[in-house]
């Protein structure tokens, strides 16, 4: 895996990742920022493939591009109207934070280049054996962390459903009174179909 092709692939993937990441933290339209994550995640998946971590190439595409990105886009579209693209999307700390982050990132990169890493050892196993070894470790040596991670994910997802579903107590009590008096002049009609469905059942 050495050659001009790999180098060209690495450089183009790195540029794709960094440019789209910069765009997604910088562009003013927040929906565009969400969509700029797509080339960023795909670029990172490509870097994983170049690193011969084939399993994580697939996982990155499935989970980040397929799940997390869609989740972010859904949340953006559910809340978009309050964030007018015409108003600035960065806070007052923008310039100082930019300088700080640029210096921090460049300093970390500079530190990396000065470090003498121990020599690269063997080549990774072919993908099938690699993934088999990972799976064997996940149900063997690392079974407990794996189960804890799955429990965490389950708890977090149930918690997310409960959080997103439940109407907050403050708003429920604030809205409860006018709703009881009469539904005609109630400004927000979005809740109406849900109660209709509930009554129909």
């Amino acid at each position: 895996m050495n050659g001009v092709g790999v180098q060209a692939a690495f450089i183009s993937l790195a540029v794709l990742t960094l440019v789209s990441a910069a765009a997604s933290v910088r562009v003013r339209n927040i929906v565009h920022a969400g969509f700029w994550l797509l080339p960023c995640f795909v670029g990172i998946a490509g870097l994983f493939a170049l690193l011969e971590a084939h399993f994580f190439f697939v996982v990155q595409l499935l989970i980040y591009v397929g799940a997390i990105l869609v989740l972010i886009l859904f949340a953006l579209m559910l809340t978009r109207d309050v964030m007018n693209p015409a108003i600035p999307q960065t806070n007052r700390a923008g310039f100082i934070a930019g300088v700080f982050c640029a210096l921090g990132g460049l300093f970390a990169a500079w530190t990396v280049t000065r470090q003498a890493w121990p020599g690269a050892s063997a080549v990774p196993a072919p993908p099938a054996e690699q993934t088999r070894a990972l799976g064997a470790d996940l149900i063997g040596l690392y079974a407990v962390p794996f189960e804890v991670a799955s429990l965490l994910l389950l708890a977090a997802l149930i918690g997310a459903i409960v959080l997103a579903k439940s109407e907050s107590p403050a708003r429920a009590s604030a809205d409860g009174e006018p709703r009881a008096e009469g539904g005609e002049e109630r400004p927000e009609g979005a809740e109406e179909p849900r109660t209709m469905v509930g009554a129909g059942r």
Binding site: N91, G159, L163
Partner: protein
């Protein structure tokens, strides 16, 4: 491109993520910055795995758990943001200041 190239990309990606977290006013954009930082960490893990210890599986297990935690974080974070939006009608992080002492 050896290990250094990947580490430099990860460092710059992490810097961009921190920039997003520090400067964005929209809470979802803050989450986007966090995702970028988590991706940079995963990239670092896999780069070290590939170039320093390709026969050990620890890095891959770590990355798998990291991705799991990132997914959990995104789900809970977006649920919280939706709730905040329902409560105060805005997801600007500066307006969600009810807990400020």
């Amino acid at each position: 491109m050896g290990l250094n190239g990947y580490l430099i990309v990860a460092a710059l990606l992490f810097g961009l993520g921190v920039y997003g977290v520090l400067t964005r006013r929209n809470a979802i954009a803050v989450l986007i910055g966090i995702e970028l930082m988590l991706n940079a960490a995963n990239l670092n893990f896999l780069a070290f795995w590939r170039f320093l210890a390709p026969s050990a599986m620890e890095a891959q297990v770590f990355v798998l758990i990291g991705i799991t935690v990132a997914a959990a974080e995104a789900a809970v974070g977006l649920a919280v943001i939706l709730n905040v939006y329902r409560d105060i009608g805005s997801i600007e992080v500066e307006q969600a200041s009810e807990l400020r002492g």
